[in-house]
């Protein structure tokens, strides 16, 4: 478990608010104002990060990864780890915790099909995610279910589309109702970013450790800002489609760590929006978030490398 205390700058509604509670008008503008505002206690507007931090964290993670590789053997298939493995819960909306297509021996077991039909909860999350992307790029959603299915069809997720189309009418109506409610929340919550913010969705990050034999990966739902060497200049926005909130928040911290390992600096601010309740939170990234997540991953790698009672190791 992580030990850092949350420092939420704002949460729009009380936790546990009923999904039908509509968020107050203008919350997207509030969220935008919070994302662009100066960080607490930092007159310059951007929190400072030790320039050596990313290198230090990488070295720590590399040591742990090499420890695991030593136990698994050099010839073992690369171990591809995403938030689902490391933090628990469902896979990314984009399915990013599966091995990239064509990865030689990536992940454990047989390669995953390109478009496996997800379970119902994951399917709904995927549809909501498609609506979120559409809102970021066009600002509008008309018929949520039809448009989410069109979006999935364009991404080649035909198994998911077929899974929805084969639902009984009552289940399909229920899904349409749930999507309509979540789309209403998202319309109010998702800010309209000026194009200069360079909003991009589904930015995939993949960090090879131990010469590529352990890979940490994840996908930002939304990144904004222009990368600037040596400066934390990005904001990340995560979409939660049903929580639990603490795990989704931890997933954002994990992604912030991956960005630090990729570019040397993490995003300076994170926002999490929940489509089912319409609540959101915004917080600054702090070095202790990154250290805590690294510590968690190091502990996970050490645990998985320990011999299993049935023989062999867990990973």
């Amino acid at each position: 478990m992580l030990s850092t205390a949350p420092r939420l700058l704002l949460r729009s509604q009380r936790p546990g608010a009923a999904p039908s509670d509509a968020p107050s008008a203008g919350t997207g503008r509030e969220l935008l104002a919070l994302l662009r505002g100066a960080a607490a206690g930092t007159p310059a507007g951007r929190p400072r990060f030790d320039p050596g931090l990313a290198g230090g964290l990488r070295a720590w993670l590399e040591d742990a990864a090499y420890g695991l590789v030593a136990l698994r053997g050099d010839d073992a298939a690369p171990l591809v780890l995403g938030p689902r493995h490391l933090l628990g819960g469902d896979e990314d909306h984009s399915g990013a915790t599966t091995a990239p297509p064509g990865a030689p021996g990536a992940c454990q077991g047989a390669p995953a099909p390109a478009d496996p039909a997800p379970a119902n909860g994951a399917l709904e999350a995927r549809l909501v995610h498609a609506l979120f992307r559409q809102l970021v790029h066009t600002g509008t959603v008309g018929d949520p279910l039809a448009e989410a299915l069109d979006a999935l069809g364009a991404t080649g997720a035909t198994a998911s589309v077929r899974a929805v189309e084969s639902l009984p009418t009552s289940a399909r109506d229920a899904l349409a109702g749930s999507l309509a409610a979540q789309a209403a929340n998202l319309r109010a919550l998702v800010p309209r970013f000026a194009s200069g913010w360079m909003p991009r969705t589904d930015d995939h990050v993949s960090i090879p450790l131990a010469g590529g034999r352990v890979v940490l990966q994840g996908t930002f739902d939304l990144l904004v800002g222009t990368p600037s060497p040596g400066t934390a200049s990005l904001c990340a926005l995560g979409l939660s489609t049903g929580g639990p909130w603490p795990r989704d928040r931890q997933r954002l911290h994990y992604l912030a760590l991956l960005e630090a390992l990729r570019s040397g600096t993490p995003p300076f601010r994170l926002a999490l929006i929940e489509s089912t309740s319409g609540r959101y939170g915004v917080e600054d990234v702090r070095e202790e978030h990154l250290r805590a997540l690294s510590s968690h991953i190091v502990a996970w790698l050490a645990r998985e490398g320990r011999p299993h009672p049935s023989g062999g190791n867990r990973a």
């Binding site: 297509p101 064509g102 559409q134 069109d150 979006a151 194009s195 909003p199 991009r200 990050v205 890979v215």
Partner: protein, 272 residues
């Protein structure tokens, strides 16, 4: 990240010894000539970096099992490159605006029956607004990562964006090699990579050097090839050394050796 990548493209290239370079190029050309003659009548072969990767990893069966289809993921590179071209020319102010402009162009071409309309344009024109938004989102992310990764103002000359180069064998009209690079400057080529880091990447990138050398056009001094994974920020540099030409020719040889039994098996299947 932007600094390292721009630096890799702008750093001076150490020219190889001309005599050794010419000798290696001659050997590579001779290898390709033998392959072309041996393959006469076996059907057309276009060898790409992707083919080399599949051959080196023994993944051709999986690739053949999943035929190509346009989707947001397969459309993101052509749309993203067109968008970056608009950005570099100052014709768009952001990746989102540039992608939108390129997609609007597709619609116009298809609507007006332009002969320049491609399969991709026709596929895009057949999508609903929501489908197009999903495709645009994927292309915007691809374009933004490339656009933000480089300091375009310091690149040598006028960068050429997204123009693949082909070399057609003079010994057989059936054999062609493709050198894929996303950005080319006077002294270097940038290739945006996806998938995991892999041992085969140098052979994949060597094909770019080989095609440039075989075409024998300017720049007189062969350039460096830089492979870049946006997912991880990692770079791999392939300097223009004679051994790279050999590596590229060996990659092509491997692809063709791998493909021959497949074609024969396909011919037997179709005859049965």
């Amino acid at each position: 990240m932007p600094d390292r990548l721009t630096e890799a493209l702008c750093a001076p290239v150490r020219a190889p010894d001309p005599a050794t370079w010419r000798a290696s190029l001659g050997e590579a050309a001779a290898t390709l000539a033998r392959l072309a003659v041996r393959r006469a009548g076996a059907g057309r072969f276009r060898v790409t970096d992707h083919d080399i990767r599949l051959a080196l990893h023994g993944l051709r069966d999986e690739a053949e099992a999943a035929p190509f289809a346009w989707a947001a993921r397969t459309a993101r590179r052509p749309l993203g490159l067109a968008a970056v071209r608009l950005l570099a020319a100052g014709a768009a102010r952001s990746p989102a605006e540039a992608v939108r402009a390129r997609m609007d162009e597709s619609t116009r071409w298809v609507r007006d029956g332009s002969p320049g309309a491609t399969q991709l344009d026709r596929w895009l024109a057949g999508l609903s607004a929501a489908g197009r938004a999903a495709v645009a989102a994927e292309a915007v992310t691809w374009a933004t990562r490339l656009w933000c990764a480089l300091d375009w103002s310091v690149l040598d000359g006028t960068p050429v964006i997204g123009r693949d180069r082909w070399w057609d064998s003079p010994h057989s009209a059936l054999l062609a090699l493709r050198g894929r690079a996303d950005v080319r400057t006077d002294r270097a080529s940038l290739v945006v990579l996806s998938g995991p880091r892999r041992d085969s990447v140098r052979a994949e990138l060597a094909l770019v050097t080989l095609v440039d050398a075989l075409r024998g056009r300017r720049p007189a001094t062969p350039g460096r090839v830089v492979g870049w994974w946006p997912d991880s920020g990692h770079l791999v540099r392939v300097e223009p050394e004679p051994a790279v030409l050999t590596l590229g020719a060996e990659g092509v040889e491997l692809v063709l050796a791998d493909a021959a039994p497949r074609r024969a098996a396909a011919a037997v299947r179709s005859a049965a």
